[in-house]
């Protein structure tokens, strides 16, 4: 009985280390992808210029009354659907891009991938 009682905490401790270590080692070297928000409000993308890490997610949230979208400028990369008031859409940033609202081409923004 005595032996079992003394061994039990040691087993728990070792199991804890074994379970914890691999997780720690696999995630530590890579920065966790983050999520950034670009608000569309009063006919502006805010922030108009956003710096992110590769793999980060950028969420566009339409807080205006009018519909908007976010269209990558070259037209070859990405384009959100029309976002009605209150709707949002996200894209994973893989490379730097300029974008605009195709309904209001004077609205412009930029995502810079570090």
């Amino acid at each position: 009985m005595r032996t079992a009682k003394t061994i039990f905490p040691i087993v728990v401790f070792l199991a804890g280390i074994i379970l914890y270590l691999p997780v720690n080692f696999t995630t530590a070297p890579i920065a966790k992808p983050q999520t950034h928000v670009v608000e569309i409000k009063q006919m502006k993308f805010n922030p108009a210029e956003l710096t992110v890490n590769k793999g980060d997610t950028v969420v566009f949230v339409n807080k205006d009354v009018l519909r908007h979208d976010a269209t990558e400028t070259t037209g070859k990369s990405w384009k959100s659907p029309a976002l009605a008031s209150g709707q949002s859409w996200k894209v994973v940033a893989t490379k730097s891009a300029s974008y605009y609202c195709s309904f209001h081409p004077v609205m412009k923004g930029k995502i810079i991938v570090k």
Binding site: D64, V65, L66, R67, S102, F103, H104, V106
Partner: protein
């Protein structure tokens, strides 16, 4: 080049002069408006631009003009919906007045002129009118409707549409560039 530049200058001044005479409703002495009348002017001004956009969608084949008209129809409809929702909430019934009537009669004349044109001449006339109309509406909203609004929510709604009107004006000027000087 010099001739071209001075011609463009002349054209710009002529367009400016025409637009000044063309939109007398906003240029006359500042009238006094109740909130019900402000609401009517706001709805009428938006509806007029929707009507211009409808005509453009019927008559134009230019992709930039069509895209612009599409945005005008959608945005001004959204503003009307917002205004109607607010006046309904406030229990105000929009009331006709000298400004809204003048706006309608001016728009009637402009629509008649636009209907006589086609092709590139229509596109140019439509966009020139959109530039002039948005300039006039912006100054009316800022100089007349906002100061005349007593209700805080009505005032806030009018203030919130100014950035959209400015974006429309810049968009119209962008499209207008392809028709200038030729």
């Amino acid at each position: 080049m010099k001739t071209f530049k001075s011609l463009t200058g002349w054209a710009a001044s002529i367009v400016f002069c025409i637009s000044m005479f063309h939109l007398p409703a906003f240029a006359q002495e500042k009238p006094t408006l109740s909130d019900a009348e402000v609401a009517s002017v706001a709805v009428v001004a938006n509806q007029i631009d929707i009507n211009y956009a409808k005509l453009a969608k019927e008559k134009s084949k230019n992709a930039d003009v069509l895209k612009f008209a599409e945005t005008m129809a959608s945005d001004h409809k959204a503003v009307i919906d917002q205004a109607v929702a607010l006046v309904t909430k406030l229990g105000v019934t929009p009331k006709d007045n000298a400004v809204s009537k003048q706006l309608l009669s001016d728009a009637d004349k402009t629509m008649k002129t636009l209907r006589t044109k086609s092709g590139r001449a229509f596109d140019k006339a439509y966009i020139d009118n959109e530039v002039a109309y948005h300039k006039a509406v912006i100054s009316a909203v800022e100089g007349l409707l906002i100061p005349e609004s007593e209700n805080a929510e009505l005032k806030a709604l009018l203030q919130s549409i100014v950035p959209a009107l400015n974006a429309h004006l810049e968009h119209a000027q962008m499209v207008q560039k392809q028709f200038s000087g030729k």
